[in-house]
Subunit: 389 residues, 2 copies
């Protein structure tokens, strides 16, 4: 196990009706906030009214900024920063899924500096301050509600980049599984893949003696595998949603990488796919992950065997470990397909003509590698994308 | 799953040499602190010197209070409160195991009030403020390093009582597994039982649809079962200690009871044993838990079967669930004995002549019940103690 420091300060308010506590939770930090959201669904569902009623009751004023899209854009972040500065707002309240929360985190960093927040996403300097963030989660997937990360896309050049900082842990996150009842099946499925991917990025590590966190990750992954199909069968299944939502938060709140070093190559490769084609992040991951696994399998076959046996209940055959590992991968692909998600580039409608371009962008023209479990250069990324065809 | 609110603010600094960061961690909160510890072992081991060197380097002054004993006493708490008030100290730094940390938590509450902190332990009012607490953990067992709880014993009448408050989460806890290398085997074994008990108190719940936290608890329990024997074989096994220590913290930091209601009857019953006989808490729990299980087995046989199959690898026999459950209990008892810990009152040298007295004290003369999974009155507690003979 590696030395580590860990503290997750996000306060979780979980359960039926918990969005009605948003006013009190917000008021503890600021009485004048940016209310940030995506499309009109929070208005038609009544969530907008419940949230604003709660804010009013707690004496909190707000300025609104809707319109966050999947793969949230820098332009809207700039607009949010402007509003925060103009109205001297003290907290960003994100009502939505990972895109809204990631956008809120970008605004929170931008609101306290004179320059352009995009510089942080380009790796030029690190934030030293940020406005506090609160969230009301409507889509369990990205884990941004209790994480340090934010991913933003710059429209010009369609550049998708991430920032991680302890400053970005939300102060509170309100998780009511009922708010997810109305999600389209495809989004639920993409969420299940995204959460699984967060777990597997952490699982495949070169750090030895991580037996405890191995088991915690396996426990969380098995929860997603078990609950996702129940939700697709009955979108109103509160019990299944509860397990799924809480597991999605824990999958990405940094507890499960304590003492470990994760891989994250599949996320980097996927960002190039969804950067160019604007496909859903989860749908991209369902394509990349199996291909990545087939490429790196022999780097640590034992780890793949453990994963196949414990997570996918493949019967251990000590004489044929590769077959065990490959059966685990096959069961993962079957799981993704059972959710209605394809596992090939062709299934996403992507032809091979831009694979070289994606491999090039992913590795900055072969000047950097991605991944830690196995470090991948441009040629390796190209091979993985070819395996995904 | 029940609605819940969860936030654990304790900063964990984990790994080799981490005690050398204690000065910087402390200075972030206060420059004048109470240094609280137990016996002389921290001096002979060199830990005292490393801690005080680090404090000096960070410009932190301290007043010392050693002498904390297992089952920490109210008299010493009063002395600590006096020192904090006299010297206007701003943080209690606990260097030791659960007893030292629990004592520090009591002092932290007492230092900010005019009255006697024991009132809180008697349930008369709840704390509204406390000094910050920091810890350097030397004995993984009680989980107090990241928990809300403190248990103190009043010498007069040998009354052992607990307080729980979010104010008592330590601000930081320093976990270096190397500091546990010199622990006597018996203390290691008692720690393993205590951690297991924390997990099982949470596991046995009447709340339905807690599949995710079930699996997290199972993962943590399997870690203790796997690592404890390795440590007893080689006390310098850093890797085994790392898993064990981190699992011990997670077992009791309130993550694993999110959405659940735990039982805690076995802890209540054990407090009466160790209250009267001053036996080690873990040794008492190893006696109470198997007896409690045999008493409540039929309340929810399914839960016991799941536990036996998943945690103890008992082969599922759907036609004979009780046999599966009882085999799980038998394996748990065998595990405790393999650590060198007895599972009967007789093994602790306790005869039956004070069983009635313990059952009476535990239920305040049959005026209250203990436990949630099954509520136990005086007669039920008496039966469990008889089963433990």
């Amino acid at each position: 196990m590696e030395n580590f420091e860990f503290r997750n300060p996000t306060r979780i308010v979980f359960g039926r009706g918990s969005e009605n506590k948003v006013g009190a939770e917000t008021a503890a930090h600021s009485k004048k906030v940016l209310l940030h959201f995506g499309g009109s669904s929070i208005k038609s569902s009544g969530l907008y009214d419940r949230v604003t009623d709660s804010l009013k009751a707690a004496g909190v004023e707000w300025v609104e900024l809707g319109g966050v899209k999947p793969n949230p854009r820098l332009d809207l972040v700039h607009e949010g920063v402007r509003l925060c500065k103009e109205h001297k707002l003290g907290l960003i309240l994100a009502v939505g899924g990972g895109s809204v929360i990631d956008s809120a985190k970008a605004i929170a960093m931008g609101a306290v500096i004179d320059g352009d927040v995009w510089e942080f996403y380009l790796g030029r300097g690190a934030p030293v301050d940020a406005l506090p963030i609160g969230t009301v989660l409507t889509l369990p997937a990205a884990g941004s509600e209790a994480s340090t990360g934010t991913v933003i896309t710059k429209e010009e050049g369609w550049l998708k980049r991430a920032v991680n900082s302890d400053l970005l842990y939300p102060r509170f996150s309100i998780l009511n599984p009922e708010l997810a009842f109305t999600l389209p099946k495809f989004q639920v499925a993409c969420g299940a893949v995204d959460i699984s991917a967060h777990l597997m990025e952490r699982y495949f590590t070169n750090v030895r003696n991580v037996a405890f966190t191995d088991r915690l990750i396996e426990a969380t992954l098995k929860t997603i595998i078990r609950q996702a199909p129940l939700i697709l069968k009955n979108s109103q299944d509160y019990d299944a949603w509860s397990e799924f939502m809480w597991a999605g938060t824990i999958a990405h709140n940094n507890l499960l990488n304590t003492g470990r070093i994760g891989d994250w190559a599949s996320h980097d490769i996927e960002h190039e796919i969804s950067g160019i084609y604007d496909v859903a992040h989860g749908a991209g991951l369902a394509v990349v992950f199996p291909a990545w696994m087939k490429h790196v399998l022999h780097h640590d076959l034992d780890r793949f065997v453990q994963w196949a046996v414990r997570v996918w209940n493949v019967e251990l055959d000590v004489f044929n470990p590769e077959a065990v590992a490959r059966e685990g991968i096959a069961r993962m692909e079957a799981f993704f397909r059972s959710l209605g998600i394809g596992t090939t580039l062709a299934g996403l409608g992507i032809k091979d003509d831009r694979i070289d371009e994606m491999a090039d962008k992913c590795t900055d023209g072969d000047t950097r590698t991605v991944g830690n479990f196995v470090t991948l250069d441009r040629e390796a990324v190209r091979k993985i994308l070819r395996l995904a065809e």
